[in-house]
Amino acid sequence: MTQAAKMKVSDEVAISIDQMNKWYGTFHVLRDINLTVYRGERIVICGPSGSGKSTLIRCINALEEHQAGRIEVDGTRLSSDLKNIDKIRSEVGMVFQHFNLFPHLTILENCTLAPIWVRKTPRKEAEETAMHFLEKVKIPEQADKYPGQLSGGQQQRVAIARSLCMRPRIMLFDEPTSALDPEMIKEVLDTMIELAEEGMTMLCVTHEMGFARQVANRVIFMDAGQIVEQNEPEEFFNNPQSDRTKLFLSQILGH
């Protein structure tokens, strides 16, 4: 077990999801989801495409609306109240598959925008914070470039820095390496591992099973909108219980 996986997880609840259900029209995407995430936990969510894993983490910061059940983030209940939603979003960072950097702003502006406008941080202070996090993801020299001038891996690291600048208590990753060339995946994963080792609460939808083994303290397998199995990574990979999990693991680890 690596250092990250051994780290103590507190018993303070960061996210609690209770009997959550979601439909797209008449299609039942998420069914009776129950999940409690403790502060400092690093959870990897995997499963076949269309199983609802992205939708699940997008529900946590209200990018998607859920129709039944309850979600509490940091003790704030997600409702249709816009004030609550904005508060939760500023506490929860999100990294997307396609980075979603703002192409009309420089890297530095991408990182300072939300602190300045949402947190009302003075510009100078926000820029210092941004440079701090850009150094952390090892691209401070790109601060004045535009996203279009960076490689995919660099863009994704900027996206992580942009989220961190809001000093979130929870980070959500939605397939952060799926749109990257193989040689760029490592630089992004390294950044995420470093983040995990510092004790950030992380929910990560990914197919990087090496990453799951190394940093996760819980792996969740979803299929057809339900949580099929969850366990510690060692157990999950070496001794899967459900047939569906076994099949999935044999397919992604088989080659």
């Binding site: 209200a62 990018l63 979003r89 960072g93 997307f96 192409p103 009309h104 406008w117 949402v118 279009g148």
Partner: protein, 513 residues
Amino acid sequence: MSDTHAQSVAFVRNTEIPPSLPPDTEGGVIKWVRENLFPNVLSGILTIVALYFIIRLSIFVVPWIWNGVWGADSLTNCREVLGGKTGACFSVITDRWHQLLFGAAYPRDLFFLSTMTGVPVADLVTPGGVRENTNFFQEFFFGYWRPVLAFVLLFVAIAPVLFSELPRKMLITTAIYPFAAFWLVWGGSLWVPVTILASLAIAYFAYSFVVNRSFFLGALSFLAVLILLLFDPIAMLINAAEFGRNSLAFLGWQRAENALPWVTVMEQNYPWLMNIFPLNAHVVEGLSTISSVSLASVPSRELGGFMLNMILGTVCVSLSLPLGILLALGRQSNLPLIKWVCVIFIEFIRGVPLITLLFVANVVLAYFLPPESNPDLIIRVMIMITLFASAYIAEVVRGGLAALPRGQYEAADSLGLEYAQAMRLIILPQALKISIPGIVNVAVGLFKDTTLVSIISMFDLVGLIRGPILASTDWNGVYWELFGFAALLFFVICYAISQYSQWLERKLQTGHR
């Protein structure tokens, strides 16, 4: 021995090949002609046909311009000077330039003109409009200094909007300009624009005081303060009632005399009801008693010529852009009421010809408004053109909004930005950038469409040419020169707008996608 490595697989170069000039056929005029004019048979034929037409056209146009007469005082006189030769009669422009630019009735500032030139006022006013004692520059810069200054200041005012490199403090000139220009063109007491400007400033102050709590409260206090300072609330109520009564009467309801006795009482107490939104006359009058700074007042019907096109163009473009953006955002709204109001508005306006709307402005609106109130025709026309253009701009902007990937909205949301912030900082800068060609297209079209007002008897550049100038005995029959001049003026402005937009597109290119 050959330099190629055909004989053997192993090859090492040990001599450099020096660069040499290309053959003559690969450079200079010959190459250009061959590549651009005669690359193949079809293009060659087309080149020859085009050359034929260019030469035919120049055979007519060149002597026409070259022989042009500049000094005559009528078409007959012009023909005598030409003596049967082909030639333009540009004298109509030198004779009537002030009408073409400022309208037939726009008054010269005789006092200023006389002061600057030393010609007594009596000698400046000659019968028949002939201005013998002054030259063009004196007339233009001293006689018409008010609209000319307003035109020059226009560039100072829009410069910081067009060029983001300029210091942001210059935007203050942009904010003041509409009021300055209004005062310069329409004249009257300086206190009118100053009161409006000051009221807006105070209302903005109130807004910025409250906006931190809630944007809605901020907007509300802005409006409340503005209405209190600027308008007379009682008079507004009366006018609203009057508007309602007229609308009912128009729809067939009989207006019951004495049904609303309080309105009559108020009407007698407020005889200065002039508009739907009457200016708070007490403030203006009060200030005027302290000090009266005023320019000779020019009624709207005396505005004309290219100046009228410029006024309509700038006012309507600058108003329809924000309105169009709001409509585009409204059309995307999640709130059904807002969405459907915007959709119906846009679709209705786009389905109706502009000329119909102008007729509505001219004739039909008068039925609905109180009989005493007579909002200027120019204001009614401005409203209609603005609404018309904003519907088109809304659709162009909607295209830009739709072209943005969903991820941009999600990224802005996930950072906790509010709707207004997300729109202003993330979505609109990108969507508007995509929409620049479309917006410029609408703006240029709108500017040219301002000539349609000539049909509802306003004397803009085209109206003046068709009306007073071509109808006069002196210049009846001078078409090419006059419409050529009009085309030139419009072309200069429209070409400048188009060049600016291309420059802006290049500047905003940040190398993405």
